[in-house]
């Protein structure tokens, strides 16, 4: 895996296509998971992820390096998701559909390749995450799943490191109370 600096240099040089491929492959899971948490739809998350990478690749020259590339991407994802949600609201207003009637649960691609067990696990996990407050959920996922440092999460969420540690502990405690007595989700 190439370093972020190599990717940035590649995107700014003649090897842009190769660097773009590496860049997207490195962060596609992260970007997609953030987008899916915000948009609660598989298709929308795919569209948002695509837009995020295109924006990032086009504007890589504006990246000043004051934060990590992942933090920068996180901000772009949030902006893109926010913009998509606004468009959805406007569209639902024009078509007289209630925005609240949009699915609360994340939609999944029911591809035959997907094992039922995977989908069931994903559903249960998403259901658990839905029951956490937003800050705790984001902190838990960014720390536990994405294994980011507290400094990075602090830059992403705008919360102090002490506050993030407290959020993380509270999130785990809440999840423990939501799990079945036998420890199953």
């Amino acid at each position: 895996m190439q370093s972020d600096q190599d990717i940035i240099n590649g995107l700014l040089s003649d090897t842009r296509d190769y660097a773009a491929n590496i860049f997207v492959r490195k962060y596609q899971r992260f970007v997609f998971s953030v987008a899916q948490r915000y948009l609660k739809s598989y298709e929308d998350a795919c569209d948002a992820s695509q837009e995020v990478f295109i924006k990032a690749i086009r504007n890589i020259g504006n990246f000043r390096g004051e934060c990590s590339l992942q933090t920068w991407l996180y901000r772009i994802v949030i902006n893109v998701c926010h913009s998509m949600n606004k468009k959805k609201k406007l569209r639902s207003f024009i078509t007289f559909n209630s925005f609240d009637s949009m699915p609360e649960a994340i939609t999944y691609d029911y591809n035959p390749e997907n094992s039922t067990m995977d989908i069931e696990f994903q559903k249960k996990f998403d259901n658990l995450m839905k029951q956490l407050p937003e800050k705790q959920r984001e902190t838990f996922i960014l720390r536990y799943i994405d294994e980011l440092s507290y400094e990075e999460i602090s830059q992403m969420l705008g919360t102090s490191i002490g506050g993030l540690k407290a959020n993380y502990f509270q999130a785990v405690k809440k999840l423990a109370s939501l799990l079945k007595p036998d420890g199953e989700i």
Partner: protein, 216 residues
């Protein structure tokens, strides 16, 4: 080490560090301190066990592999989108700029086509206004000049074949003006009969209006 062994150390800080401790993300110093503290603290040991059970239930690798599976096509989609944008002749911004420019040019052309007709009307109308002003000054020589000027414009606009509405408007203005002049001429005390040129003018206009000599 002394900091963590101290009984006055921040208990909340220790608790907040437990998830990282269970996940193996604390430094050696903090790890040793928690290891030592949990030996004599059953509540702390219980907390650690609870966190273990949560992490065991929420298998990180399982979640990550699932996310990787769902996001597997994004790189292909992004590369295709980038390629597509490269092969596009015009970008969206260029198309918008082109359309805006086209609308402006078309508007300018249409404006330039229809503007001369409206100018003719306004010229005739202003001449008619001048006529009436001049007539009030009883200046007969100027009156005739202006009448001929008006007539020229009237004829010109006929040759230009302006549309019907405009033509009717022009006719009305001319007829009204000529009648006004005719009436005023008759009331002039220093002239016993209508000037010949003015009489011809009236006849021409009325003939063009489709009226015969009897009407006159």
């Amino acid at each position: 080490m002394e900091r963590y062994n101290n009984m006055n150390m921040n208990q909340q800080h220790l608790l907040d560090s437990l998830p990282d401790y269970v996940d193996g993300k604390v430094d050696e110093q903090l790890k040793a301190a928690i290891d030592k503290a949990k030996q004599n603290d059953t509540a702390l040991q219980s907390e650690i066990n609870t966190i273990h059970s949560v992490f065991n239930a929420l298998d990180k690798d399982h979640i990550i592999s699932r996310q990787e599976y769902l996001s597997r096509n994004i790189s292909v989609q992004v590369i295709q989108a980038l390629e597509h944008k490269k092969t596009q002749l015009f970008s969206a911004n260029q198309i918008v700029a082109f359309c805006t420019l086209s609308v402006i040019i078309c508007s300018a052309i249409l404006y330039s086509i229809y503007l001369p007709d409206t100018q003719n009307i306004s010229t005739v109308a202003s001449l008619a206004l001048n006529d009436s002003n001049n007539m009030s000054n009883n200046n007969s020589s100027e009156v005739q000049d202006i009448v001929y000027g008006t007539h020229d414009i009237y004829q010109l606009s006929l040759f230009e074949e302006t549309n019907t509405d405009q033509q009717e408007l022009l006719d009305d203005i001319i007829v009204d003006e000529v009648f006004a002049i005719y009436e005023r001429e008759l009331t002039l005390e220093n002239q016993s009969e209508t000037p010949k040129a003015l009489e011809n003018e009236i006849q021409n206009v009325l003939l063009l209006e489709g009226k015969d000599d009897e009407t006159l």
